[in-house]
């Protein structure tokens, strides 16, 4: 057992942990700067809370790392069912914020179950996809859609959380694609999608809440109404652009503290960073994320079994989707979807879930060589 532990530590992924802490550190510093008060001299404690959550997240990471991920195989389905039940419960007893019921209050703490559900979803889907050999048959795929795609999607859309719902479907598609589907079937599926999605999209658009529709309209035509829905996008553009090559300097940004940029410490944190650190700093952050994703993909390649591969690729894609949507949104090339930037945006639930994500990746990478004794 002792040798096992030693061997495990030898394979511990210090590299990804370093990137994780670099990003979290940047996050805390940027949250501090973004929430600087304009007049009152009392600094709000967002940055301290974030630091506390980083600590809690790190504990969660250690916990996740210490249990062999193979164990998850046995609890994946029950967890998935409990997860769905919680999502259902959120719809009934959850708390609303900005027109959506996403929060669950447990008395001492309130959190967004969707954030954790994503992990459970990936693990459960990975378990199913690794339970058979060869390519997926249409039957396998059909089952996966019915069991793993539709129920959570419907529940999340009911909250309603358009962003999370679409991310989930996208993630599902990517993971199943990674697993491999028969070519003939894949082609038929793609053709069907091309026909169905626009029709389905129109129906969905008609049923969207006003604020959701406005976001899409605002994305398509930012100039249409600079006072209203296009405002966030325009201000984010200004915030990022005003950083120019080397930035205004740390604690010198104005767009966030003077409240021109909304959601400055959460969804638009990247803009605040880019304003203060410029093109140079933003490129560094991009590079860190790129390394992170490459490491995740590498972990997936090196994982010892299909279950591990599926989990690793799923988690990496999840982080990548978050990153792409968030930075795409703040750069003004994606619609405004309320998605945080992993590790940097302020927010406890997401941060802890993301630490657990990295924990799982480390776990899988660490146990890549079979410890069969």
């Amino acid at each position: 057992m002792k040798t096992n532990k030693k061997r495990l530590l030898e394979h511990f992924d210090w590299f990804i942990l370093l990137i994780l802490f670099l990003l979290c550190g940047i996050g805390i510093l940027t949250i501090y700067s973004a929430t600087r008060p304009a007049i009152v001299s009392v600094q709000p404690n967002f940055y301290i809370k974030q630091a506390v959550w980083v600590g809690i997240g790190f504990l969660a990471l250690i916990m996740v790392v210490s249990i062999d991920y193979s164990f998850l195989r046995s609890i994946a389905y029950p967890c998935y069912i409990i997860g769905l039940a919680i999502l259902l419960f959120v719809l009934i007893g959850g708390q609303g914020k900005m027109g959506a019921r996403r929060w669950l209050n447990l008395g001492f703490i309130s959190f967004q179950p969707t954030e954790f559900f994503r992990l459970i979803f990936i693990i459960a889907l990975a378990k199913y996809l690794s339970s058979f050999k060869g390519f997926m048959t249409p039957k396998n795929f059909g089952f996966a859609v019915i069991a793993f795609a539709i129920p959570p999607f419907v529940l999340i859309m009911k909250q309603p959380d358009l962003g999370s719902g679409l991310i989930l479907i996208f993630l599902f598609a990517l993971i199943t694609l990674a697993r491999g589907i028969e070519k003939k079937f894949l082609i038929i599926m793609i053709i069907t999608c091309v026909i169905v999605v626009p029709i389905f999209g129109t129906i969905v658009f008609d049923h969207l809440k006003v604020y959701q529709r406005n976001r899409i309209i605002a994305f398509i035509d930012t100039e249409a109404d600079p006072q209203g829905i296009g405002y966030q996008i325009e201000q984010s553009r200004i915030t990022i652009g005003s950083g120019m090559a080397t930035g205004k300097g740390y604690l010198k940004g104005t767009q966030g503290p003077l409240r021109f940029l909304p959601e400055k410490q959460t969804d638009f944190i990247f803009s605040v960073f880019a304003e203060e650190w410029g093109f140079l700093g933003a490129s560094v952050i991009f590079f860190l994320y790129f390394l992170l994703f490459m490491r995740g993909i590498d972990t997936s390649l090196k994982a010892k079994d299909d279950f591990g591969k599926m989990i690793a690729i799923g988690l990496t894609f999840m982080l990548f989707i978050y990153f792409t949507i968030n930075t795409g949104m703040v750069l003004g090339i994606m619609p405004v979807v309320g998605v945080p930037l992993p590790f940097i945006s302020y927010g406890g639930t997401t941060l802890i879930a993301n630490f657990m994500t990295i924990g799982l990746l480390i776990n899988i990478r660490m146990r890549r060589i079979g410890l069969l004794y």
Binding site: T239, F279, K309, G332
Partner: protein
């Protein structure tokens, strides 16, 4: 799981991730490098606003240092050009401005650093309601501006003038770079003439605001520089006496200090309320002023010229004496009319004056006497002397739109009327009728030149500003002046003089009446309709020995110069020469009152700070 497939999938994934990163880096480059400086400006414009701090204009005083115009604050409600949270509907209700008008105003000024003025010209009583609701409207600020306090209401409206916002061409003029479209500048009168002296330099308050229009701190404060005060040569006592005496009649009065050309009084009536103009005139008042047949916006003292009538005989007399025509042997028999060809040229006195010589001709204003003087002088010499006394040319006082009047002559007639000169025209010119026209200020200047024995001083509205060097000194013998002055004294002092009604033993006043015909021929005055009644003129100076004031009084359709115009001159002379008694008391009282109710300049220089309690 197919290992080969999975690895291929991973390869594609890496390409895809690489593609996304490349796109994002390009976008980042586009925003931060290509459009960086432009967006940096946008970010600066988000938070920095420039508030103008108006400079108090200089105070305008009369020659005794009595304030004629002071300053007082007014308020305007403005909106910081914010990019969010503008409640147009609420604002339009609060300020009772039409919603579409308001929206257009706001849209217009949104891309600027300066606040958008929504409503202007508000005073304390209007602002209270708005101030109370201020917190409901982020970005709404109440700015303190400075306007004029017209202490004396309409008094000398044409001298003081009024203020207004500049027109586009004034804004475009590069020499006016210190004015903005909201600066009040002088539009009329001395406010316009000495605008650059009075205006001062506006200050600037550059502030940092947040997205909700809260002023966070003052980045830079450039205090305004108050305009220079102006001491006019106007004597308020003379001015008040003059304006009161007109009693609603239309006309003008100009009084000059013959020792230096300083204007002591300048009246043009009817006039207007300068206060109506300064903060933007109400269209109703504007239309009323413009459609008024008495033209209250016309400064009659120098913008309109009228036939001078008999006051011109002073020039005839000087010319006649100087040219040796009027001498001890020269006399004319006046039987009431002179015939020339088919025409008959009458004297105002029906029965005629009988044998008339100088000075009686002037004292009793015998027309036939001056027909003969004119006949002997000839039009060329009449023209020459008239021009010597400044007729037919602008006095150059520089108030807007001065008229030069007309001194007719042979050349003038050929040019203007394409006709040759007739002797009959010489005769009527000699008695100040016909083509000859004179402005009241030229008439006063004429009196001033006679009073000072031929010294033509440049006219000015400022006290003691200029070196007292005459513009020109007429080469006319002092003896000539002495004779004419004596005659003019007799006009008042002699019981037969046309202005004997104003005779007072206290002051030796020399004068000359004029009654200028509006329609040809002699008509019974009582039957004349108001608009065809004769114009009444009177020029005078006093005291004769050492003149201190020379003036002209003109009453449009006022009837006889002696009865209508001369009494006003007497009152003005009295008011100026003896500034004691009622006038002095009033002045004192006024000064006290002004000191109590007019805000001080330091108040204006430091307008109340917006959001003071927000600053930490």
């Amino acid at each position: 799981m197919n290992k080969h497939y999975f690895e291929r999938f991973i390869k594609f994934s890496i390409y895809f991730i690489g593609l996304i990163f490349s796109l994002y880096i390009i976008r980042l480059y586009y925003l931060q490098i290509l459009h960086g400086s432009e967006l940096n400006t946008a970010s600066y414009m988000n938070r920095v606003k420039i508030l103008a701090v108006p400079a108090p204009r200089g105070i305008i005083y009369d020659r005794n240092k009595v304030a004629l115009v002071k300053n007082k604050p007014y308020f305007s409600v403005s909106l910081l050009p914010l990019s969010m949270g503008i409640d147009i509907k609420g604002l339009s209700e609060l300020l009772s401005i039409d919603q579409t008008v308001m929206a257009a105003k706001i849209k217009c000024g949104l891309n600027s650093l300066n606040p958008i003025i929504l409503k202007d010209g508000l005073f304390f009583e209007d602002i209270a309601k708005i101030e109370a609701k201020k917190s409901d409207f982020p970005g709404m600020i109440i700015e303190t501006n400075i306007t004029r306090n017209y202490i004396h209401e309409n008094l000398m409206a044409h001298v003081i003038g009024y203020l207004g916002k500049p027109i586009q061409s004034q804004l475009d003029n590069p020499s006016n770079d210190n004015i903005t479209k909201d600066t009040l500048i002088g539009k009329w009168g001395v406010e316009r003439l000495y605008n650059s002296t009075l205006m001062g330099i506006a200050g600037k308050k550059i502030v940092e605001v947040d997205a909700f229009g809260k002023v966070l701190r003052v980045l830079k404060f450039e205090p305004p520089i108050k305009g220079k005060d102006l001491i006019l040569s106007i004597d308020i006592n003379a001015q008040i006496a003059a304006e009161n005496d007109f009693q609603g009649r239309t006309g003008a009065l100009v009084a000059i200090d013959p020792n230096n050309g300083e204007i002591l009084s300048l009246v043009s009536l009817p006039s207007f309320r300068p206060a109506d103009f300064t903060l933007g005139i109400n269209p109703k008042i504007w239309n009323k002023l413009n459609s008024d047949k008495k033209f209250p916006l016309l400064n009659r003292a120098l913008q309109s010229a009228f036939p001078p009538g008999s006051i011109f005989k002073t020039i005839d007399s000087i010319a006649g004496i100087e040219e040796g025509i009027i001498n001890n042997n020269f006399s004319v028999f006046c039987n009431g009319a002179r015939h020339l060809g088919n025409h008959s040229y009458g004297c105002w006195k029906k029965g005629g004056h009988g044998t008339t010589a100088f000075p009686r001709g002037l004292v009793e204003s015998c027309d036939l006497f001056y027909y003969e003087v004119g006949n002997r002088l000839g039009i060329d010499r009449i023209e020459k002397y008239a021009k010597l006394f400044g007729l037919g040319e602008k006095t150059g006082l520089q108030l807007s739109g001065e008229s030069a009047g007309i001194v007719p002559g042979k050349q003038w007639k050929r040019k203007a009327l394409h006709d040759s000169w007739y002797l009959g025209e010489t005769l009527i010119t000699a008695i100040g009728q016909g083509y000859l026209t004179v402005t009241p200020i030229q008439a006063a200047n004429l009196a001033s030149i006679i009073a000072s024995d031929g010294k033509y001083y440049p006219l000015t509205l400022l006290k003691g500003e200029q070196e007292i060097k005459p513009k020109r000194v007429l080469t006319i013998h002092d003896e000539t002046f002495r004779k004419v002055k004596e005659a003019m004294l007799e006009v008042v002092s002699s019981p037969r003089g046309t202005a004997h009604s104003i005779y007072t033993p206290d002051i030796a006043i020399a004068g000359k009446t004029g009654t200028a015909q509006v329609v040809k021929g002699r008509i019974d005055t009582k039957k004349q309709a108001a608009e065809t009644k004769d114009h009444a003129w009177f020029i005078a100076f006093a005291p004769v020995e050492k003149p201190q004031i020379a003036l002209s009084v003109f009453i449009e359709h006022g009837g006889h110069g002696g009865s209508a115009a001369a009494p006003i001159a007497l009152d003005v002379i009295k008011a100026y020469l003896k500034p004691v008694g009622a006038a002095a008391k009033m002045e004192q009282k006024e000064v006290q009152q002004l000191e109590s109710d007019t805000i001080t300049d330091s108040d204006l220089l430091n307008p109340p700070n917006e959001d003071k309690d927000d600053e930490d």
